[in-house]
Structure formats: C-alpha cells, structure tokens
C-alpha cells in the first residue's frame, strides 16, 4: 500500500537519505530502527510531506500510496485525503488548550459528526486522559502527553499512523503500556509505521523491520529474523 522507492532527501546541501526503499502493507506494524542521525525521523517527515525548514526536501525517488505518487501533495492533504498522520517526536501537543480541546481540534479535516463519540472512544483507550479532560495539556506528565499525541492523531480518523520515537522520555512501564496499546490498535486494523531507538521493544511488537544507518537501509526482514541476527543485535540493538 505504501511504497517508497530509492528516496533521497537533503537538508540544504547535506543529503540525509541516500536512496532508501521500503514498503508497508495494510494492517502491518513496520518499524524503522537505527542509531541517532540514521535518517529515521527524516523518512517519516518526508512521508508526511512536511516542508523545509521542518523537514528535508526530497531530491530523488518516489513515494506511492495505493499506487499514486504523493510527492506533490501537501501535508494537510495527506491527513485529510490519505488518512495518514504523524505522532511527532517531542509530541507537539497544543499546550495552551485543554485535553478535550486538543482532541476537538484534531477533527479539523474530517466530518464533524461523531466527534464527541470519538473523543469518548479515545478516553476508553487512554482512561488517564479522561481524568485530565479539562486540564491544560501543558500541565500533563510526559506519558500523558504522549497518550494525548496518539489520541489526537487517532481523532483524525487515520488508517495509517506514523510514530516518531513514541518511547522517548517515558518510564519503562508506561512505555510497555504504550506499545501494548499500539498493538491493540493494530489488531483493530490500524497500519502502523514506528521509528524507534529502543529497537528490541519495537521489534517485539512489529511484523517487519528495517535497519537504517546513515541514510541507508542496511538490513531488513521480519521482526523475528532481525532479532535473531547477532551482528545487527550487537551493532544497533545494544545486545
């Protein structure tokens, strides 16, 4: 469904991706793992069609969604038409709005019917958010903010969810909770592409994985295969 071919992207003159190819099918969890500066976040931002200076500009290659190139699409169209959205690194929630207002705002690009129903659904997934519903979101803890960021993304009625380092800055227990929730959402039909530094955790929930190193994919395979390769485990997964 989502197919990236020989993608090159650069920040100004500095090339961050040297031609990577990968794909994701509906209902899969695919993970991109690798060290700092490997180009994982750059890949996600390029998929979201974010523009410079926030993101690198694509210089070569192609990205296809259901067979149609998305290179000339704007970010807001990716959200509204393709139903694909991003949970960015560092959450980027709207700090001056309450939890509920954050969720309401995320319904911007979709039909406005069922918004309240969907908010209740988000509160079912993340009961902690229900307790904080009327609270300004910049007063939430890191874990709650991450829940809100995921909940907000789900409010766009996305069918493909891109996550950039969802485990960053979370306590281990909350981190496991988050991944369990992602697994559950996936079982309900959500396609997930997750970028992680915590490779072991990501591979435990993912179907397939790609290992990135300085802008190139150096290994790919099913999650189980990757977990078993000793040289990859040693070099990138810290085992």
């Amino acid at each position: 469904m989502l197919r990236v071919r020989n993608l090159k992207a650069a920040y100004g003159k500095i090339e961050a991706l040297h031609g990577i190819s990968f794909h994701a099918e509906r209902g899969e969890i695919v993970t991109l793992i690798g060290a700092n500066g490997a180009g994982k976040s750059t890949t996600l931002k390029a998929l979201m069609r974010l523009t410079p200076p926030e993101s690198a500009s694509v210089t070569a290659g192609d990205m296809e969604f259901d067979g149609i190139s998305i290179l000339n699409m704007d970010a807001h169209r990716v959200v509204s038409d393709l139903k694909m959205t991003l949970v960015p690194e560092g959450r980027h929630i709207f700090g001056n709005l309450t939890v509920t207002e954050n969720l309401q705002l995320a319904a911007w690009s979709r039909k406005k019917s069922n918004v309240d129903e969907d908010i209740r659904h988000i509160f079912d997934i993340f009961p902690r958010l229900a307790e904080r519903a009327k609270q300004r979101s910049d007063t939430l803890s890191g874990g709650e903010q991450q829940m809100l960021a995921v909940g907000r993304a789900l409010m766009t009625q996305c069918s493909v969810l891109l996550l950039d380092e969802p485990s960053m800055g979370l306590a281990p227990l909350i981190m496991y909770d988050m991944f369990r929730t992602l697994k559950k959402l996936n079982a309900d039909g959500l396609t997930i592409i997750v970028v992680e530094q915590n490779a072991r955790l990501a591979l435990q929930v993912a179907d397939r994985g790609y290992v990135l190193d300085t802008g190139e994919i150096i290994a790919e395979g099913s999650a189980d295969e990757l977990l078993k390769k000793p040289e990859i485990m040693a070099a990138y997964l810290g085992a």
């Binding site: 926030e54 970010a75 807001h76 959205t85 709207f94 309401q104 705002l105």
Partner: protein, 358 residues
C-alpha cells in the same frame, strides 16, 4: 439570556451615545474623541488577530489603513460629489446614507486585497522577517500614494466632508459616530465569531505549533493568509472611517508611527484578548489626548521653575518619545499586557453570571 447581555448592553450604550450627541450634550471635541476611540478599537482589534491570536508579527498595519482610507475617500467622492477628479456624482447625494456601507465595504475589500498581495510572498517567512516585510509594505503604500498626483500626492486628498454633509442633509444625525459604532460592531463580531469557530481554533493551532497544526490536517498557509486578509480588511474599514471623520487624508498619517500606535494598543491590552485590547485602545487614545494638555502645562511649569533654558519649548513632538517609551516599559514590567491572553470574563469569573464571552 446571558448570551445576549453583551449585545443588549452594547446596543443601549450605542443608542445612548447617539442620543446624547444628537441632543447636543457632547461638544464637538468630545464627540471626535469618542469617534477616534472607536476607530482605534477597530484598528487594534484587527491587528490583534495577526499579532495576538496568530502569533505572527505584523509591523505595518497602518499601511492597510492607508489603503482603506484612500479607496474609501475616492469611492465616496466619486459616488456622491461633483469633483474635478471624477466629474459629476455617480449617485444623487441623497443616497449617501444608504450607499455609505458600500464605500466602507469597498475600502475593506481593497485593503484585504492589498493584504493578500503582502501575505502571498511573505508568509513563507516568519517572525522578524515578516516584521521587516510588513514595514516595507507600509512604506511602499505610502510612497505609491505620495507619487500619484491625481489624488493629491503628498498634499493629501479631501472632499469627503461633502459626503458627510450630504448625509446630514438627508437626516440631521451624528452620522460619523453612527458609522463608527457600526464599524466597531462589525469588527468585534467578526473577530469574536471567527475566533470561536473551528477556523479560529486553526488560527490558535498555527500560533501554538505550525507542524502540529499541519499534521492535524490544518491547511496552515490558507489559514494564515485568510486571517491576514481579514485583519487588513478591517484595518481598511478603520481607515475609511478615519478619512471621513477628518474629511482629509494624507499618506503620512499612516506611517510607521501609526503602526506603532497599533502595536502599543495590542501589547498594552494583552495579545489574544479582545476585551483587553479594547480597554487598551480606549486608555491609549485618552492618554494621547491627555498629553495634548499635559505637555504645554509641563512646558509652562518647568519654565516658571527655571528648569529649562529660555529658548527651549517642550513641543508636542515629545508624544512620540512617550508612546514608544510606554511600549518599552510595558515589555519590561508587564509583558503580558492588561489581561494577558485571557478575556475579561476569565480574569473576573463572576462576570460569567451575567455575560458569556468566549
């Protein structure tokens, strides 16, 4: 019922004001000051949309007021008066009270269009760069106007008094006060309705975090340009009113000093607070008028006390030292302004018993 309190209070106040003016209880000077307060309110509240709610920094708001003032004046002269410029009046002068809204609308649309022209290239930039571009736009419009001799060039343009007189001939009412109140209502309602709508939430989202807004499906470019156009259009409305109250316009009245006045009012009131900015606009206009009396008084007192050399007089120019000084002191001691980004009802929750606002 609470929903309408504000509207009812506003209508009563407006009627009372017009009635007082009509009865002659307000002298001409007081009436003019009240009208200018109204115009400054429109000017400041519209600037607040860009600088407060959207979090951008527009420094040349007076440029849009200038466009509105000139387009409004030209339309008004072409419509209702016999002039050398346009020849015979397009409509009989008796129609003036009814067609004046068209003049205001035309002025607003022209200013909004100019806003679009400025916004299209400049919204690829942000912060300081946008500030510089808007200052440049302010100077561009002044230079353009000053170099068109047909509309008076640097001498300015007049003839709008005839339109106002034509309105008074139809019915003897304080017309410009009425139109200013009308403009004030249109401006405040537009911004209030906009900011409480979904579109307004998009504007706050852009202000907070542009990336996050984009990945929520907000077309940030369109939202920004729309907000900028609405803001400049309302500034144009203020300009058209200003031109008709004075009966004379000059491009230099809309230079960077006027833009600075707008910034002072917005930051004094609190960014992103309609009630705060309205309070600030009233306070600021009154302060500037008050300085008109205080400066000569200071001059006399300091001369009497022998503090100043005999040849030196404190002139009204000192106003332009005091106004920027207010801005500097404000940034130093109360950067959030009167109300911060809260409305009056949020600062005094008890007000909610009577009115709902936001």
């Amino acid at each position: 019922m609470r929903r309408y309190t504000l509207n009812v209070v506003f209508c009563l106040a407006a009627v009372a004001l017009v009635a007082l003016a009509q009865a002659g209880a307000l002298d001409k000077y007081v009436l003019t000051i009240i009208t200018f307060i109204g115009i400054n309110c429109i000017f400041a509240v519209s600037l607040n949309l860009v600088n407060g709610y959207m979090g951008e920094f527009s420094c040349g708001h007076a440029g849009f007021m200038c466009v509105g003032a000139y387009v409004g004046s030209l339309l008004s002269v072409a419509f209702f008066t016999n002039s050398n410029l346009f020849g015979a009046a397009l409509f009989p002068p008796q129609w003036a009270p009814f067609l004046f809204p068209v003049v205001l609308l035309g002025a607003s649309l022209a200013a909004a269009l100019f806003g679009l022209i400025v916004a299209l290239p400049s919204f690829h930039t942000r912060d300081d760069y946008l500030a510089i571009i808007t200052i440049a736009a302010n100077y561009i419009i002044i230079s353009i106007v000053e170099n068109i001799d047909a509309i008076g060039g640097p001498r300015g343009f007049s003839g709008m008094k005839k339109t106002v007189n034509a309105m008074s001939d139809v019915a003897d009412l304080p017309w410009m006060l009425i139109w200013t109140i009308f403009g004030f209502f249109v401006c405040v309602m537009t911004i209030y309705r906009l900011m409480t709508s979904t579109y307004g939430k998009g504007i706050s989202a852009v202000c907070q975090n542009e990336v996050a807004a984009e990945i929520m499906g907000v077309n940030t470019n369109r939202v920004k340009i729309m907000a900028f156009m609405i803001s400049s259009g309302l500034a144009g409305l203020a300009g058209a009113l200003y031109a008709h109250v004075y009966g004379y316009v000059n491009a230099q009245a809309f230079n960077i000093l006027k833009s600075t006045e707008g910034l002072v009012m917005v930051y004094l009131g609190g960014m992103g607070s309609i009630s705060g900015v309205l309070m600030a606009a009233v306070a600021f206009t009154l302060l500037v008028e008050w300085l008109r009396f205080v400066i000569p008084w200071l001059n006399e007192v300091s001369h009497a006390a022998g503090l100043l050399p005999a040849g030196y007089e404190i002139s009204q120019i000192w106003k332009w030292v005091i106004i920027p000084l207010i801005l500097i002191l404000l940034m130093q001691f109360r950067p959030e302004g009167f109300l911060g980004n809260r409305e009056l009802t949020q600062v005094f929750p008890r007000l909610k018993r009577w009115i709902t606002f936001k």
